[in-house]
Structures are given as C-alpha cells and as structure tokens.
Symmetry: C2
Subunit: 237 residues, 2 copies
C-alpha cells in the first residue's frame, strides 16, 4: 500500500470543517472535538477532515461530522473558504467551513461520541488552527441569517414554547425582546402551529422549571415552503 498521487502542479489539500450550534434552553453552544493527534494535539477544534475524490465538500462535511461526533445533519450551509497560506503547519490546506444547527434532541447524541462536547459560546477556549476566527465568522453569519430564514427552529426540538423560542433568539442576537411583541410577531408570521393539548407527553422534560407551563408550538414547514416561494419573507428583529 505505498500508493502516491502525482500532479504536474502543486495542489493544496482541501478540508471541510463543521461549526455546529446547539441550544440548551438558555445558552448558545458550539460543538467541539478534542484533537487526538498533532498538530494542535489536545486542543479543541471543529469536526472536520479532508475531502475524498468521490464526494462533494458538502458530503465531506456531513461525513466527517458523523464520524467524529455521531451527529447526523443534512442541513449544512457553506460559511466560507479559509485559505491563509500558513493556516495548517503540515501542508497547504484550504478549508471549506460549514455551519449547522442541531436540535436539542440531537445534542445528547453528540455527547455520546468519543471526544465531542458542547461548549457555551462565550466560554470557548482558544481553538486549533484558525478556528477561533472561523467561529467568529459563523456567529456573525447566524446572526444575519436568522433574520431571513427560520434558522432558529433548527435549534429547538420539534415542539417548543414561545419563551424557549424567544430565549433562543435572544441568545443568538444578544438582545432582549418584549414578550408580548415577540409572541405577536411570531404568530402573525404564520410559521407556527399550535400543538394539540397533549402536553403531558413532554411533561418530564419540562418539569424542570417552576411557574405556569407554556403552550407548545411546532414549526409549520409546508407553510414556510409556500412563503419562500412567494418570497414575501422577512423575520425582522
């Protein structure tokens, strides 16, 4: 197995990296893996790895994420290409970064996997490579996208209360909203549908907090699709 690959011109290697965000009901988190090998052994980095010849960068990102963290995510969005000449000490590596949003139910799955864990966004230590920079870019990006796409819903379970949704928006954007205005706006946007009165189902999960239990909603995907087609769409906050 001493195969090698030869080219007439030098080729940079291509890697895909995944910035995966999650939400635990209070804080925004990001999924990081502890590196088990040099370079940056022991440091935290995003899940990621090198492109194979039979896959697109999107497929590569999804595969590496699955292999390294156990997370199965199809909705990976391109964040950008990072190509500083010396960003990897081994050889010239150009990284295509992706970002994704994990539903709360998936967060646990990630925890199972070897060295992957969730870190609160404002407590992330220094990362390997240029991943600090990539993380900043990803945060900027999600803050922008949340205005136009129902990005937020990807971070919650299938059913959620209005205040969970509000806390999510507040965590991502770093601001506070008026509860009444938030509710009004979300509802009149028409993307939420109320869940019938089977609240008991999730009572276990929700028994954590005191006070009155919130009404449950779910994201109405088909409504979203039809709005996207008419492109009359803006999630202003």
């Amino acid at each position: 197995m001493e195969e090698t690959y030869t080219y007439k011109y030098p080729h940079a290697a291509i890697a895909a990296d995944c910035v995966v965000f999650g939400f635990d009901g209070h804080e925004l988190k990001v999924l990081l893996v502890t590196r088990g090998a040099e370079p940056f052994k022991g440091k935290l980095a995003f899940a990621g790895g090198f492109l194979r010849m039979d896959e697109t960068v999107e497929e590569c990102a999804a595969r590496e994420l699955r292999e390294e963290t156990g997370l199965e995510i199809n909705m990976l969005r391109q964040l950008g290409v990072f190509s500083d000449v010396n960003r990897d000490p081994r050889e010239r590596v150009v990284s295509v970064a992706f970002y994704a949003l994990a539903k709360r139910t998936e967060v646990k799955a990630g925890d199972d996997a070897a060295d992957a864990a969730w870190y609160a966004i404002d407590q992330v230590p220094q990362l390997a490579f240029d991943h600090d920079y990539i993380l900043r870019q990803a945060l900027q990006r999600i803050r922008r996208d949340i205005h136009f796409e129902p990005v937020g819903f990807g971070l919650l379970g299938n059913e959620f209360t209005m205040s969970e949704l509000q806390r999510l928006y507040e965590a991502i954007l770093g601001v506070k909203f008026d509860r009444r205005n938030f509710t009004k706006k979300m509802l009149q946007m028409g993307l939420l549908e109320e869940v019938g009165n089977e609240r008991q189902a999730n009572s276990a999960q929700r028994a954590i907090h005191r006070g009155r239990a919130g009404r449950l909603y779910r994201f109405n995907e088909s409504m979203y699709e039809s709005m996207k087609r008419k492109n009359a769409f803006r999630l202003e906050f």
Copy 2:
C-alpha cells in the same frame, strides 16, 4: 523543467472564478471570457484559474481577473464553493466562486482586454463548466445582498443621478419603484451626499439623454462606515 508534485493522498485542484457584474445605465451585465483552450474551447466562462501555493483564494481570484480581463478589483466577495465531482473533465477541480461589482468607468477597461466582454444578464448563452449554475447563484446573492449593503453603489461611477441609481436597483431586483418614494428613502438613509454644482464636468457623458439633467450624488463612505458600526442598517426595498 520536468518537475512534479507528489502526495500520499489524492488532491483535488482548486480554482477561483469571478462573476463580475456591471451596469451600463440600463441593463445589468456580466463579464465573460471566451475560452481559448480545451475543455469548452470557444465557449464563454468566467475569468478564473488555478490557485497558487503562495496566495489565498481571494488573491487568486483578483490575479486571474486582472490577467484575463485587465480589471483591477479589490472588493471580491466569496459566493460559494462548487465541488461536483465531475464539473471539470480534466481532473477533479473544486472552484471557489467570487462575485464583484465593477464601476461603470471600469467597464471600458474590461473591453480592451483580449477576449473579455460584457453580456446582458438575460442574454447570456450557455456557459462552460457549471458556470450557468454559478451565475444563477450569483444573481440570487446580489439580489439578497443589495438589501443590506450598499452594493449598488459599486456598480455606478463616483457620481450618479438618482434615476441612474433607481434604474440600477430596478435592473438588479427586476421590479419598478415609485420615483418619489425611492428618492425619499435613499436620501433619508443618509448615505448620499449631493455633489456641488460642477455638473459641467460630466456633461459629455450625460448629454446622451434628453430632458432635464438630474442632480448628481455621490456615495458617502464615511457615513456608511459609521452606520455599519452601529449596525443600524437595512436597505429595504
């Protein structure tokens, strides 16, 4: 000079391609080069080429654009990575696409260069590689970005009339605006400053059309920077 480059794993080649938009006062145009070599010899494609080991993809894009079209553009924005396995018949090539906006004064410079020319956006013939697809993505992108960044101004000369600006927005978005409302909104946005009464200067350029001459404005960059910092910014249309 029989140098070759050998790697332990296969490496895809990396290329950068530039989707450059221009505006002639009436139509949106895109800059295309006629390919002089196989594959797709004789077909139109974006300016672009392979990444060198001592440059970032941004530098690569700017260099290829300069070499192939004579255009000197610093403000290239990443559009996305296109990595279908068979998008290039020669070898596996992953393309990083950029888009840019050329000021009207620069359009002529482009015309000088060998095989580069401007094509009206709705008269673009079939392109080489997957460049048709990339063009569609670029259009979508510019239509989105124009709402948040003063993208449009990059397509006009330093001085322009309100109706030139309006025609540009209309050409990009494919809609019509009310003249009065457009003017009002643009002015109260505070990004334009009126040019002192030296209209004579450009009279040559502007003598083309009949009717009353429009007032000239210029884009107020420093105002834009300060607004961006406060991030109180939205160009709604």
